[in-house]
Symmetry: C2
Subunit: 231 residues, 2 copies
């Protein structure tokens, strides 16, 4: 049975879930290969082997598909943070703890290129072409992930209050999105940067840059301790 036939025949709830998963899977693969920016609704439909109109029975827009993938990526990222920080000695306030937090966060982002790409597209595009209900659903997931990540940070670094840990997480997530775009220029641009010494400053290596910025943010939050705002 071909994928297209399976789509046409699907009637039962579990078959509908399978269809949804197939659409999300196709969008995920195309976005990983070509970048979120270039993937269209028609391209996703073609990859699944169905017509665009069939796809629109499952998702409002292209943006809703990617918002769903972003929610999924937040959950996956949170699991990576748990794996890296759950065994860290709680309550330890050594400089090594901050370095560990910075390293685990930098890798959790840098190991997930699609997540970083999506993070830049979320406020710019994805949240602007879906229903308020879809954004609400997404936001509850992303805010929940930020809270969970912040609790992990505050557990390892008790000098930070939750509001400060949340600031750290939200700031680093915003940066991961924009720095990933800078670190992954179009091929013609990457060549240009490599060939022209005057443009060397334009090159960014994502993981070390995120690690370093995370360390600076943690040191700064510690130094500014007690003056935090929860905004």
């Amino acid at each position: 049975m071909t994928t297209a036939e399976a789509f046409q025949r699907a009637r039962r709830p579990e078959q509908k879930l399978q269809r949804r998963d197939a659409i999300l899977g196709a969008a995920r693969e195309l976005a990983r290969r070509d970048g979120v920016r270039t993937v269209s609704l028609a391209g996703i439909a073609a990859e699944v082997g169905i017509h665009k109109s069939a796809l629109l029975r499952y998702f409002e827009t292209r943006e809703q598909i990617f918002l769903e993938l972003t929610a999924e990526a937040w959950r996956d990222w949170t699991r990576a943070l748990h794996a890296g920080l759950d065994t860290a000695s709680p309550g330890s306030a050594s400089p090594g703890s901050a370095a560990l937090v910075a390293d685990v966060f930098a890798r959790a982002f840098a190991d997930r290129p699609l997540f970083c790409d999506l993070l830049a597209h979320t406020p710019l595009n994805l949240e602007r072409n879906v229903s308020p209900e879809a954004v609400r659903h997404y936001k509850l997931t992303s805010l929940g992930a930020v809270d969970e990540a912040a609790a992990l940070v505050a557990g390892v670094l008790p000098a930070l209050r939750m509001a400060e840990a949340r600031e750290f997480v939200a700031t680093l997530a915003s940066l991961a999105g924009s720095l990933w775009q800078i670190a992954n220029p179009a091929p013609a641009l990457a060549e240009l940067y490599a060939s022209d010494p005057a443009l060397a400053q334009a090159c960014v290596d994502l993981a070390p840059r995120l690690r370093r910025t995370a360390e600076i943010l943690l040191a700064g939050l510690k130094a500014a301790g007690g003056q935090g705002q929860s905004n």
Copy 2:
């Protein structure tokens, strides 16, 4: 004489420059009003009163127009930093100096919504749909502005080396772009955030958030002093 007639008649170099300025001016106004994301080449051409094909004699793509506006915005932003920091006592290392730098930078971004909007679009879209030569021209302007801003910071805060001051400026510029998008959601979304207490964390107030993050970055760079990398 209508704008369209002026375009048809323009032959001399200064008339061509006027045409270019009219195109940039129309793109600037539309982007300020509706957001960079929604402005098309056809929309700019219609605003100027010319055909799309006439516009393409002056600019390669829609993205080149916006890249040119971004370069212009970097120069304008640098002037605002000079206005705010040139009179600051050089060499003073008091906590007040860091607060001043944070405040001047936060306002220089927050007072320039179009610049912030463009900053998010630059690596994501603008640099991906123009010739390498156009990107090179843009990059030399933006890297020059970052250097000039970093020199101002290092002048006011001599504890920072140039590489660290550059890190501060580049990080804050990336954040200004992504935070502006978050701080300026679509109207339907802004209503949703305001009405739902569970989503209150999703609201961002740009100027105070940038000021606070700038203070944290400066405190962190000072604390991490001597361990900086120039990446």
